[in-house]
Symmetry: D2
Subunit: 287 residues, 4 copies
């Protein structure tokens, strides 16, 4: 039975690591603030003092970190992953970072003799808890196959998107840029309708019976109407993803006017005190 | 068995009127260019020479017209609906018009002793053909109930949104403004991914397995990848709806930055020769 | 010496009519709330009870009204201008209205035997007081020439833009859409710099020494830094002009993404309690 | 008489270095493609083989480079500026880079015992040739004073914006984000007016007689009407500056919807073959 490392125990990481433990795998966890390891240890995980140690004791180490800076720090920093990855060990970054970070980390891992996948996830807190995430992976094909038991424990589906690290990240940014624009469109539409005397519940029901019916509108729409935004996917992360997606558009020469408008709305919401609410709290900016 | 009138036999109207005929109702049709009546007459409909005549021979007359100007012309113009609506007859405008047009037509119909519903539809060509439209109705409650057999023949669901004519129209504009922004977001995301080396089919599959999965992305996304845009919902109509929704935002004091950005994209596409293509042809502006 | 009528005594109209009186012309004024006529009467103007009366006693009547609805009301309504315009009298609408209003009013005036110019002004309160407005006129060429003494008393320059009424209005909307986008850009830039630790006065000085130096930035920028926005050009009017310009873009097939983004900002500001402040109060939305 | 180094001889750098030579200073130039040094050498400059050599032979070295990557390479790379900056020498980066680059370069220079200013310029080709640039400097105050003779030879005005390197860069990004939005607004307005039957020259004349009159509109507007865009400030650079300004907005939590919309337009124009035209060629996207 393979042994896994897991770095980063925020909302997503905690739920994912717990699913690995519950599936019976040996798991070594690490988090920047070590207190967050306690619930996992209580479930049966071991705790490592550094990313290096976690990587050195695992066949494959997963990382779920907040942003590109954290991803680089955990990899390249002192006592970082690179120092623990000897020949053949695998490192799978499931964070959402930018293109360049995925490629830089991938290159460094390969130079150390390690193997790398970037495999950001589509899905938020609930799918993480339910083991229903979708992994968007690119990089070492054999590592993808070997990681399958772990990915299956944490997710419902895994896509392999090619040998080049960064393709998984690009897919994630494509998906999340669409998601961010859609959420903004929902805020605008619901708010317009409420000002025009329509019932919120009627709007959600009509949306759910037509061609644009989707789970996010039902779930987030209901949160908007209740004005309650417990963080499943914090707004600051969605704002970051919009920024990264627009940066990718800059690199590739793709104009994205709708995502740009949505991105500015998320920026304003983040600066306006909604950073740690669920990203659906963007609604407060509009209504 | 009630007798129905049907005015306006474009893509949508032809399919809807055909469903009325097939359901066994007596139907009198009218169209500005009379040639378009032939297929309906072949099915068993009668043909009227003017909107007035159609209305005068029907208990309830439906109208599916291109824009507010056409809706006003058919109602107020010479040989218009108003001249045929004596006491108690019903007029149901299922076109997507603006707020003010719905209210003006409604007021005029009531003054003539008629009864009025504005009941724009959610759904495009295929649902129209399949009798699977969604009606968004407001106005006379009794007329809504009496029209139920006809609405059921043409649609799968009908919402009654209150006594004030125009609420159905507002709901439609809310839905379509969201739809227009979503379609734009899909164009941006797919185009970004293609430039970044992702497979189009992979993107659609990932979208279909997550929280934003919706029928429109599957159907329109596939059209985008094939670069074929047979008009199910012509781009010029979506552009008009975005414009009307932003106008409603102007009236109600609702900022809609994402819809505004999408609206300008549709405007550019309309001016750039894509007016009569399906609205998903917006993709050509981005890729 | 010709006798002039002047309809509409808001911020702009009062100042303009006063300049006509001070230049020695006979002036008959009218305003919807008659109290506003008092200062003009004190200067030597006569007061009319209705637009009709003002028009009937004047060779040329000017109108400075709040929006298209008011412009139509004063022209077509009971005791309106049309009823006072017998053969050869001139009517010059210096309001900013939409294209269609300018054309409709122009056609009706000509049918009555009158002559028409639409001649919206570029300039706000201070230039109105100083007789330094710019007139953007189209319509009857002879009327333009005959009105020259009055236009010269109120403005520093007059443009004649062709025979078709509405061209003056179009020019005004072009100018104001640019102005609205520029003001928004200034808000964004100043606010960005302040958050980044730059001095507001340094930013204005740098702006004033480069290629984009313009009077508006100096005047409105200083108001922004003082956070004082006495209305020279009320925000609600600028919002209206952005909306009209975008509507013209809709008619002519011109995409205007920057104006659309600015327009949504003005919409939000108007709805957020800034409608009657100077349009530079938009800054409060950004800082 | 001090000896100056000058690194980077593009459109701007060539003109600036030439003004230093013509003012009688000893100047050592370097450029990545060495051929571009020839005209300067012909004027009397010396040519260095590397940035290090240029810096080592100069009291103060100026750099005018294309983007942050180039600025970092010339400073930190092999044979870079850092290797030539012994005790007390000055390095003045007049490129437009991002905040972080200005701070990183500044810190590295100080660690080497050198002194640093970031002093990006406001102004394009013509002002560069005429010695009429505006310098936006921050960093070492004494270096600013000592560099005055050189700055005066190249510019008409210099602002000192504080001890923290990066403030000059921030000011530049504020100015250029405003400029980019303004240029976009001009494109939209002129194009709208042309479609509406107005004369281009009339529009420029009206703009020049009102509150938004500014040199850029006159110069760039005339280029747009002629459809000739010889590069004074290449579009790719303006696109980069918009991107950097929006990135600064991201860092500081400042929403900039108008700049975001303009930025996407420049992105589309860059990808559409206009990268090396003057930035006013954006007009081609709109008309």
């Amino acid at each position: 039975m393979p042994r896994y490392g897991f770095l980063g125990l925020g909302i997503m990481g905690s739920a994912m690591a717990a699913n690995l433990v519950r599936a019976g795998f040996g798991v070594t966890v690490w988090n920047r603030t070590p207190e967050k390891c306690a619930p996992l240890v209580a479930l049966g995980a071991k705790q490592a003092a550094t990313p290096r140690d976690a990587a050195a004791h695992s066949e494959i180490t997963f990382a779920m970190l907040a942003d590109p800076a954290a991803a680089r720090q955990v990899c390249f920093g002192p006592y970082g992953v690179l120092q623990g990855l000897d020949e053949g060990r695998g490192y799978v970054d499931v964070s959402t970072v930018d293109d360049a970070t995925a490629r830089d980390v991938g290159a460094a891992v390969r130079e150390c003799g390690g193997r790398f996948l970037d495999a950001p996830v589509s899905g938020t807190k609930k799918p993480a808890e339910d083991g229903a995430l979708v992994f968007l992976a690119s990089g070492d094909r054999r590592l993808f196959d070997e990681a399958a038991p772990a990915l299956d424990a944490m997710g419902k589906k895994s896509f392999y998107l090619g040998e080049t690290p960064g393709q998984g990240t690009r897919m994630k940014l494509v998906i999340n840029s669409i998601m961010g624009s859609m959420l903004t469109a929902l805020c605008e539409g619901l708010s317009l309708g409420l000002k025009g005397g329509l019932e919120g519940s009627d709007m959600l029901e009509v949306l759910a019976s037509g061609a644009v019916a989707n789970p996010m509108f039902s779930i987030k729409g209901a949160m908007m109407l209740r004005d309650e935004f417990p963080a499943s996917f914090p707004l600051r992360h969605m704002q970051k993803d919009m920024h990264l997606a627009l940066g990718l558009g800059n690199d590739l020469g793709q104009a994205m006017p709708c995502a740009a408008a949505a991105g500015e709305a998320f920026k304003k919401a983040r600066a306006g005190g909604l950073a740690d609410e669920d990203f659906s709290a963007l609604f407060r900016l509009f209504r």
